[in-house]
Symmetry: C2
Subunit: 354 residues, 2 copies
DNA sequence: ATGAAAGCGCTAACAC
DNA sequence: GTGTTAGCGCTTTCAT
């Protein structure tokens, strides 16, 4: 074990309270004393014992971040941003993975780990609206994502519908009319990202006077590259004609690009593609992929800020707050306007290619 | 605060020691007592206070993982694997990011956080061989990577040289003779991944009787996609002829693919590409990218196992151990053997394309 | 097989 | 301004 407060106090010739005062920047300490204590701290290399501090004060300086899986780019980038935001507030982040498993998500909420975290940033994918009650726990939670709305906790989420609408409007703006959607959810709970983004899709079509064709909407069991690739192959196998794809997230979109290339369909000449989330990878795919960007730093910053406010606040508690960071459309090669004016004239589309 | 040991003891009508015995599966507890205690635990929803446990026992059940940045795919996948390995042992993982910054890496070692972690998995990139002394800390560390060898701690690293040699042999095996290397380190400390992999490169050339051409070896300040793309453009701008690229990691390799496409050089027809690490993304790039695969689960598993052994062991300590997981070459489209026998006959190469 | 009690290092209420 | 002191909840001798 390292040196303790007592060791420092002894060396400095003061009581532990004075040492504690110095450590916590208590203003009423004589400068001379402060210097003496600080020297003792330095020579001993004293580091506070966080377990003891946590036991006594109820605060550990550690927050939890529960996500489905770090190997999914979006969550890795989110975790990156969260850790940075936490660090700037002197907090550390304990990362848990749920694999998108319902039991694992419930375990995160009720396990023994939370009792030693100051708070939890929770991004569920298996829990749904009906599970809001499980968020009623005796420590602060900030909910991330679109699975549950109006729950008992603070919540950070995107402007899903309007962002999706903007994405599709971008496609329509470059002259596309047959916009496929990849990533519709199999089980539609009514409050998940898929539904919200799909709503934006329909709004954009409607505003442009384009009819809705259910054949263009493809489900994916998993929001990953495999799912996107597979859905695209199915779309083509079914002989559906399309000149654009709106992938409900970037991983799907990268799978779409991959599949289109396998089918020897040119992007964006034959089919334009836009994703959602603007993960780093979208900049480097071949072709680079347009996407809807949410400032992830902003999102992480907001989430950590909400959490810290909660564990600093006194009763009575503020009501749950909802924060929705802004978004922008990032146009890249996959929606490059190669002969956009001809897009209608030459009825390009995957079905032509087969 | 939740219920404590005392609450459970009172409800069960026993002492806290008995409750503690039940929790720790101490064998000499009457079955009847055990049941009674267990019921009390369940009805109260008792969860042990980890801060108190940590204070008393010196063990918190939390290990640290310090990596440069989670937004780098390789480290996200590593973190994923580490968290899984830790979870299977009942440990949680606190993730720290160093941004590859020397001061940040030193802070990880000496900060107050370590004093509350049971151990640390540390993947430095700024520290080097001369900094081995900083690893002499009073808690167990497992070093990851190739920056420091022969240090005072356990160490998990790849067979860099032989794996790199195998990668280059793969390229030679499909008929390539002008193999460029992307990612050589600017400042060569002699014990980093770059040097070791470069050594494998030279071994492979030598074994095949191919002369070493320093023009083919390109430096990159950063091992990311930008670095790989930039180095590739430079290579071509310099008019160097090459028919294959060995990217010292996959992020570089993906940048290489991107740049080759911008230069309208076909992969693998004109130039074959192989990376290193086999990140998930390599499977989905366009074209998919061959790579050197280290079983990351194995690596993570080994690292966590070494760490747990350390904090369970009694004095005297075992000497530092070195673990090097196996590797395999994963062949994908980027080294697809399109007319491999002609590779020599038709002196394909980037320089032809300009 | 179970209980009593000390104390891990720290914070904060209270004394002086 | 600084010191004293009582626990926070748990583990762990030592008794019984």
């Amino acid at each position: 074990m390292g040196p303790t407060l007592h060791d420092v106090a002894r060396l400095a010739g003061v009581s532990i309270k004075t040492v504690s005062n110095v450590i916590h920047d208590y203003p009423y300490v004589k400068d001379a004393t402060r210097t003496r204590v600080q020297n003792a701290i330095d020579t001993l290399g004293y580091q506070p014992n966080l377990s003891a501090r946590g036991l006594r004060s109820g605060r550990t300086g550690v927050i939890g971040l529960a996500v489905p899986a770090l190997r999914e780019n979006y969550f890795a980038e989110l975790a990156d941003a969260v850790i940075r935001a936490a660090e700037s507030r002197g907090l550390s982040v304990l990362v848990e993975q749920t694999s998108g498993d319902r039991d694992a998500e419930l375990r995160v909420l009720s396990g023994s780990r939370p009792r030693f975290l100051d708070g939890l940033l929770f991004s569920p994918v298996a829990l749904g609206q009906d599970d809001a009650k499980f968020l009623e726990v005796p420590y602060p939670i900030v909910l991330l994502g679109e699975r549950i709305f109006g729950g008992p906790t603070d919540h950070v989420t995107m402007h899903n519908t309007s962002a999706a609408r903007a994405a599709v409007e971008h496609l329509i703006g470059i002259g596309r009319r047959r916009v496929a959607v990849v990533g519709a959810s199999v089980t539609d709970t009514g409050t998940n990202s898929s539904t919200l983004r799909l709503r934006g899709y329909r709004q954009a079509l409607e505003a442009a006077g384009i009819g809705f064709d259910p054949d263009l909407v493809r489900e994916c069991a998993h929001w990953n590259r495999d799912g996107g690739a597979e859905a695209t192959h199915r779309l083509i196998r079914d002989g559906v004609s399309f000149d654009a794809v709106f992938a409900l997230n970037d991983s799907l979109g990268l799978g779409v690009l991959r599949a289109l290339r396998e089918e020897e369909i040119r992007v964006p000449e034959d089919v334009a593609v836009i994703g959602f989330d603007n993960i780093d990878e979208a900049r480097f795919s071949v072709p680079s992929m347009s996407s809807v960007a949410t400032k992830r730093e902003e999102l992480a910053e907001a989430a950590v800020a909400l959490l810290t406010e909660r564990f600093q606040e006194k009763e009575p508690r503020l009501p749950p707050r909802l924060v929705q960071p802004d978004f922008t459309i990032v146009a890249r090669e996959s929606t490059g306007t190669y002969s956009p004016t001809h897009a209608d004239a030459t009825p390009a589309g995957a079905s032509q290619e087969r």
